[in-house]
Structures are given as structure tokens and as C-alpha cells.
């Protein structure tokens, strides 16, 4: 039998005379007893709480993923009512891309370019199989919707993987890491969910501001195809020759501005004295959506292939690259263009004209690239 008399005596010494009739004594004892309990089971309890939180977020992700899939299937059925695309779309959502080996980095960009081009071609071919006979505009809508649905599917699967791994190994560290990134993942997933609705309607997104500015400059000019889904036109501004470049709209594509610039400067023998790139850029927390900023360097996102190609041509020819950006969040960049971004249109145009006048002289040539997805923006 356990003898607590020594402990009571000690407690008595510390806290005055021990009196078994005093209920406060039992409070002290229970308080002391909880310390080893939490030392032993605290982490496990914390793990349970985190698991509960993650499973709630996972449920949200699952709903978003399922809705994205259903929306895409529903839209394809609307476009091509003759056949059921469910099986093909389900297969497409599991489609993956293996990046080339990077142990020997020499020539890696060309390999990545090759893989990405193959992936894009495969995607286009798959959409054509799902919806035979549709035009480029509709096909690009479905491509963009499929891409967003695939990204949502991937986010859900990765989160589920770490959730189940944390549960199986009862590792609170795996779960804590997942819990930390979960708000960001949910934000991204929410943006993708909303992007699907925007693509479905064929509306311009925040990222379309660059193509919109260049598209306006192209109005009334002869447009020529210079690379796949990419057009250019010639214009003039205060004695400077302006080459305007953007993806061919109003289909939802980013085109191939890197390849187009290589062709312009190479095969077509265009002399370039400056390059100006207009793009949407991620704003920092606290910055205002639609703010316009000016800088130096290739303003273009993506995996890096186009950026590399533009930088390579610019460096080889010694041409300065200027950037004009419109600040926005991830959500703004892939969902319907906010009024604040559309309102920046005139400021961007003025900034581009100011850069042309400041940085070049009469008789020189400038390439102005409208970077971004040109969904819902013609030229």
C-alpha cells in the first residue's frame, strides 16, 4: 500500500499545517500529479488536436478538389454533349510530369523546355480528344480549367499524404509542419477554385494586365505570328520603332515570349536597343493591389525557361531589360481582374511610354512584351 504520509508531511512543511479536511490540499496534490501526466501524454494530446484541425482543412480541400473536377466535367459536357468525358478527365487529373535530372546542370534549361513543351502538347492533344472539333478559344478555357483542377488534386493528395503519415507515425513534428503551411495551402486552393469559375466564363484575370496594355497598343496594326500562340506587331512612338509582343488572345494562353524574342532578334533580324516587359507581380502584405512599379530585369514568371531565353538574348546582344509591374496577390492574379488592376491600365501605359522616352533615343528600336495569360484579351 502506498504511504503518502511523507508527502503530506512535506506539503505540510511547505504550505503550513497538513489538514486532510482542507480541500485545498487535494487541489495541490492534483496539480502536482498533472505535471508528469502532461510530460508523458502532452505531445500525444497536442497531436490529436492538430490532427483534428488538419482533418477539417483536408475536408475543405477535398470539397474544393471534387467541385473543381465536377465543374470541369460539367463544362466539357456543355461544350460537347455527345460524349461523357468523366473517365478521360479523371485520368488527366492524375497526369504527372517528371523533371529532368539536375546532377549535370549544363543544358538543363533546354531539357526542361523540352519536357514542358511535350507536356503542353500532350495536354492540348488530350483536350482535343476529349472535345473534338472545338475552337482554340474553348480549348484554351478547358486547358486552363483542367490545369487548375489538376493543381487542386495535387495539393489535396500531398496534404493527405503527410496527414496519414503523421497519423501512422504519431509524429507531432510532421503534423506541426503541415499545420503551419495549411493556411497558405488553403489560400492557394481557394484561389484555384475561384480561377476555375473565371476560366469557365473566359474573363480576363489579374495576370492579363500585361497583354491588355500591349493589346491596346496593337489595335489597328498588322499582327504576325512569331511563335506558337504568340503574335507581334510594329508601331511607332516619338521617333522610336516599337515591336509589340503578346500571347494571341482572347484564348487563355501565355504564348512563348522567350522563343518569340529569339526569333525576332535572330531569324527576323530585328535590331533591339531596349526591352520592356509588363507583367503582374506578387505584392507583399501591406502593399496595395494595382500599384505600378518600375525596375530592371526580366519580369516573367513560370518555370524559368522563358526567362532564361529572354535573359540569354538580352545578354548576348547587350540589350537592357526594363520591367513594369502591377502588384497583386496570388488570388488576384488568377481570378477575375479586380477593378483596381484594370484602373492601373493608364498608369502602366504612361510608365511604358516614359521608359521608352527616357531610356532610348530617336531612331532606336524597343521591344515591349505583355507578359501573362491573355484570357479574355484580344489585340
Amino acid at each position: 500500500m502506498l504511504d503518502f504520509s511523507q508527502l503530506f508531511l512535506q506539503l505540510g512543511g511547505e504550505m503550513g499545517e497538513f489538514d486532510p479536511a482542507n480541500p485545498m490540499m487535494y487541489v495541490y496534490i492534483i496539480s502536482l500529479a498533472t505535471i508528469p501526466f502532461f510530460m508523458l501524454y502532452g505531445q500525444r494530446m497536442q497531436g490529436k488536436v492538430i490532427l483534428g484541425e488538419i482533418s477539417k482543412s483536408m475536408l475543405k480541400l477535398k470539397t474544393m478538389k471534387d467541385n473543381a473536377r465536377l465543374d470541369t466535367i460539367d463544362y466539357v459536357k456543355q461544350v460537347v454533349p455527345q460524349q461523357d468525358p468523366t473517365l478521360r478527365i479523371d485520368k488527366f487529373l492524375e497526369y504527372f510530369t517528371i523533371m529532368p535530372v539536375d546532377m549535370d546542370p549544363a543544358g538543363l534549361v533546354r531539357k526542361v523546355e523540352h519536357v514542358m513543351r511535350t507536356r503542353d502538347d500532350r495536354m492540348r492533344a488530350e483536350v482535343r480528344k476529349i472535345c473534338p472539333g472545338i475552337d482554340n478559344y474553348e480549348a484554351s478555357k478547358i486547358e486552363n480549367m483542367l490545369e487548375a483542377a489538376t493543381a487542386l488534386n495535387m495539393i489535396y493528395k500531398v496534404v493527405r499524404h503527410f496527414y496519414l503519415m503523421g497519423k501512422r507515425t504519431t509524429s507531432v513534428f510532421v503534423l506541426v509542419q503541415l499545420q503551419m503551411v495549411m493556411p497558405l495551402l488553403l489560400e492557394e486552393a481557394d484561389a484555384l477554385k475561384k480561377a476555375i469559375a473565371t476560366f469557365r466564363q473566359g474573363q480576363p484575370i489579374g495576370d492579363s494586365i500585361g497583354p491588355m496594355v500591349v493589346g491596346k497598343m496593337m489595335l489597328g496594326k498588322e499582327k504576325k505570328l512569331v511563335a506558337q500562340e504568340t503574335v507581334y506587331a510594329q508601331s511607332e512612338h516619338n521617333g522610336r520603332k516599337i515591336y509589340l509582343l503578346k500571347a494571341e488572345g482572347p484564348a487563355g494562353t501565355v504564348g512563348r515570349p522567350g522563343e518569340a524574342m529569339q526569333r525576332l532578334a535572330g531569324d527576323l533580324g530585328v535590331r533591339l536597343d531596349a526591352v520592356i516587359m509588363i507583367d503582374a507581380a506578387l505584392k507583399l502584405e501591406g502593399e496595395r493591389t494595382g500599384d505600378v512599379a518600375e525596375g530592371i530585369g526580366a519580369a516573367i514568371g513560370g518555370i524559368g525557361v522563358e526567362k532564361y531565353q529572354i535573359e540569354e538574348v538580352a545578354t548576348r546582344l547587350g540589350v537592357p531589360v526594363y520591367a513594369v509591374i502591377v502588384k497583386q496577390s496570388v488570388l488576384d492574379a488568377i481570378t477575375i481582374m479586380r477593378k483596381e488592376i484594370a484602373d492601373s491600365f493608364d498608369r502602366v501605359t504612361e510608365t511604358v511610354h516614359a521608359v521608352i522616352e527616357d531610356k532610348t533615343e530617336e531612331g532606336q528600336s524597343v521591344l515591349v512584351i505583355g507578359v501573362g495569360n491573355t484570357m479574355g484579351v484580344a489585340q
Binding site: 466564363q201 473566359g202 474573363q203 480576363p204 492579363s208 491588355m212 493589346g215 491596346k216 489595335l219 488572345g249 482572347p250 481570378t335 477575375i336 481582374m337 479586380r338 477593378k339 488592376i341 484594370a342 491600365f345 479574355g376 484579351v377 484580344a378 489585340q379
Partner: protein, 66 residues
């Protein structure tokens, strides 16, 4: 009273803005399926000239402060 309830997410109202090529008048109307930027718009209400869709955007309700 909901103390910790989630605020309903504000939804944007979608507009198509068209500009008259002659008088420069800008007019906005609700977005319609098939609209895209730099598509020919309907005739100008002021001078009956051709218009061009110059923007399509979503306008969010102003955020309440406090």
C-alpha cells in the same frame, strides 16, 4: 449573436466597360458571356458611334472599417 462566426465572403460584381471611339465616353454594363477585351461594343448611347470593350473587371464592395 455569432461571436466567432466566419464573415460571408464578398463577391465581386462583374462589369464590362466600353469606350466610344468618337466621343471617348466610357460606359459600363454587367458582364455578358462572350465578352472579351477589345471586342466591338454596342453603339455609343451619346453619339451613336462604334465602341470598343476596353476592360472587364470585378468590383468588390468597399471594406467596412472598424
Amino acid at each position: 449573436m455569432i461571436l466567432f462566426g466566419k464573415k460571408p465572403e464578398p463577391q465581386p460584381t462583374l462589369y464590362t466597360e466600353q469606350t466610344c471611339g468618337s466621343c471617348g465616353d466610357r460606359e459600363r454594363r454587367p458582364f455578358e458571356q462572350g465578352d472579351y477585351v477589345f471586342k466591338d461594343g454596342v453603339r455609343c448611347a451619346k453619339c451613336n458611334s462604334a465602341t470598343l470593350v476596353t476592360a472587364i473587371y470585378g468590383e468588390y464592395p468597399p471594406e467596412k472599417k472598424g
